[in-house]
């Protein structure tokens, strides 16, 4: 197990390095000059050159790369090119809890909707309940999440005074302020995910119910509800765990768009704004964090899978 873990971790680090390097060079072939934009108003070319020097952009690309890489190894991602030139670490540290809050709450909301929905659909197969769940799942998958986000704002936030339309409050400002700002974005992001999980649980449950083990349990005369919740559901959840990795991809993609609607500066928004503004250090830092989250959440899921399903062993 530990040998496997080590190998996978090293693999993950290599992926992160490759992504960071690719991004570093691709960013620099993208047209657009962040400093020209910044100076458009002041028109001071001397200041533009001074800034270029300050950010090392006057040097050959490989030197820039080596510098960035050695700094990054020491945990220094540089500063944003714009405005107050806030250190990228600070921006990331501010953004990560926002995105994780949205992703976490979306995940919870998705489970709250999906688990009972999937269970009901599987147990009441081919009834109105089942069709209802299926339709909901398809709708959830088919709706652009930004559309859902705007509809939520227009139809809920404006009419419900305690539900804020936009923004984010950190947990330090209190639980309710934090939660109330997250409800709408989390619903917007979580709906699509709920649809996927509900479908997975439904089909997994159907598979499980067909097994000999369940037939035996049923033959023993166990109550239907006990049967479902204590025997079938845990087994049905195994494949669900595997989608958590994919889930994060989905939640992140959702968050990128939805953070934009709700004016929440999370990782997604940081990334998009950085790309649009050609803010190299910010994009590099954000991509590194995003890929780290992906690569390691995939790794974690694999580990988790081994824990849940004892048939899987990682020792070679």
């Amino acid at each position: 197990m530990s040998g496997y873990l080590l190998r996978r971790s090293i693999g993950a680090l290599i992926v992160m390095w490759a992504v960071a390097t690719l991004v570093f060079f691709m960013l620099r072939i993208v047209p657009g000059d962040p400093f020209a934009a910044m100076m458009a108003d002041a028109g001071d070319m001397e200041a533009v050159e001074a800034l270029r020097r300050k950010f090392g952009l006057d040097q050959p690309m490989y030197i820039q790369y080596l510098k960035w890489f050695s700094n990054a190894l020491q945990g220094d991602f540089g500063t944003s090119i714009y405005g107050a030139r806030v250190p990228v670490q600070q921006l990331l540290l501010e953004a990560i809890p926002r995105t994780l809050s949205i992703a976490g709450l979306s995940f919870i909301i998705a489970l709250i909707i999906a688990v009972p929905a999937g269970l009901i659909a599987a147990t009441k197969r081919n009834t109105g309940w089942d069709h209802g769940v299926t339709l909901f799942a398809f709708l959830g998958l088919s709706m652009p999440d930004f559309w859902l986000a705007i509809l939520l704002i227009v139809f809920l936030a404006v009419n419900i005074s305690w539900l804020p339309a936009i923004g984010y409050e950190p947990l330090s400002a209190g639980f309710w302020p934090w939660l109330s700002h997250l409800i709408l974005p989390a619903i917007a992001v979580g709906t699509g995910f709920a649809a996927i999980i509900a479908r997975m649980i439904r089909s997994a449950m159907l598979e499980v119910l067909k097994t000999d083990y369940m037939r035996v349990a049923r033959a023993k005369g166990l109550k239907q509800s006990t049967l479902m919740i204590y025997h079938a559901l845990p087994n049905a959840l195994i494949p669900v765990v595997t989608v958590i990795g994919i889930a994060f991809a989905l939640l992140m993609s959702g968050a990128v768009v939805v953070e934009n609607v709700f004016s929440i500066k999370g990782l997604g928004r940081l990334l998009i704004q950085g790309i649009l503004n050609r803010d190299y250090p910010v994009v590099q830092g954000a991509i590194l964090v995003v890929s780290a989250i992906f690569v390691f959440s995939n790794l974690l899921v694999d580990m988790l899978y081994g824990v849940i399903d004892p048939r899987i062993r990682y020792d070679s």
Binding site: V15, A18, I275
Partner: protein
């Protein structure tokens, strides 16, 4: 009869003969799939007959701005006084084109890479798979965002970006299918009688790998349509005057509380299309017995 023809019959196409008929009967039996097929056909008809059907020039502006549905403008007008129905009809053409062409490109590239990697193995496999793994570490949408940022906005660039973002999905499926088929007896037989690698891949391996690829392609069309919409929403989509559903929807966002029709109709168009593709994809998946693919 040559040896090859025998092999063809033995290995490559056992399902073909009655496949379509069985699929048709399946669709007729599955209400969801039938609904999906009908809706999708309507959109395809709208796309093909677009210019004939649309009552106005989709880009002509007049002073009837933000007027609700009426006899003159069945779906109302937008914030620049353009007829929404005409724009949606032309949009059908473009959006479906984005969906289909994107997947076509991704499919050709991805399957090509996957088959190469799986069949040739060795360092080719290694290089291709390292790249695919790299791309796999990211959600497709994030990759598309980044590619548009590099390539610039516009219809062609959006298509290129989304299709490149989908390549890894197809490559993975194709490779794993090839790996499992490669060891089958009829392939070994073909090799021993000296059939070329290319021919083996083209005639024998690909046809057997089609089922999961078809399912993935179907689902990907819907993700491509959603992806275009999301890119347009972020300002990374097609150019302003191009009436794609995504752009019409994203432009409606500042009017949605005052002009519901601007947000509802393009949203419905996207949703219904994606929904019917998903319905069909689901039926296909059951029919071809393929497990869930990867999404956005």
């Amino acid at each position: 009869m040559t040896q090859e023809a025998v092999l063809d019959r033995a290995g490559a196409a056992p399902r073909r003969s009655s496949g379509w008929a069985r699929f048709a009967s399946l669709i007729l039996a599955d209400k969801k799939a039938l609904v999906g097929l009908v809706i999708l056909s309507l959109f395809v008809v709208a796309a093909v007959l677009g210019p004939v059907l649309s009552p106005y020039d989709p880009n002509a502006m007049d002073f009837d701005m933000i007027v609700g549905p009426s006899w003159t403008h069945p779906l109302g007008t937008d914030d620049l006084g353009r007829d929404l129905l005409s724009r949606l009809i032309v949009g059908t053409q473009i959006s479906l084109f984005v969906g289909v062409s994107t997947v076509a490109i991704a499919l050709v590239l991805g399957v090509g890479l996957g088959v190469l990697a799986g069949y040739l193995g060795g360092w080719v496999d290694h290089v291709i798979m390292r790249y695919i793994d790299l791309q796999w570490a990211f959600p497709n949408f994030i990759i598309a965002v980044y590619l548009v940022a590099v390539l610039g906005t516009g219809l062609v660039n959006v298509i290129v970006a989304i299709s490149l973002a989908f390549v890894d999905d197809f490559a993975r499926i194709a490779r794993s299918m090839v790996l499992s088929i490669k060891e089958e007896q009829y392939i070994a037989a073909a090799r021993t009688v000296g059939v070329s690698d290319f021919r083996i891949m083209w005639r024998h391996i690909l046809p057997n790998a089609t089922a999961p690829i078809i399912v993935q392609a179907t689902v990907s069309v819907s993700y491509a349509i959603l992806g275009e919409a999301s890119l347009s929403f972020l300002g990374l989509g097609v150019e302003a005057a191009t009436p794609t559903w995504g752009l019409i929807l994203s432009e409606s966002r500042s009017f949605i509380s005052r002009a519901w029709w601007l947000g509802i109709f393009p949203g419905l168009a996207i949703m219904l299309t994606v929904l019917s593709i998903n319905f069909l994809g689901d039926a296909l998946r059951d029919f071809l017995d393929v497990r869930e693919g990867r999404g956005i």
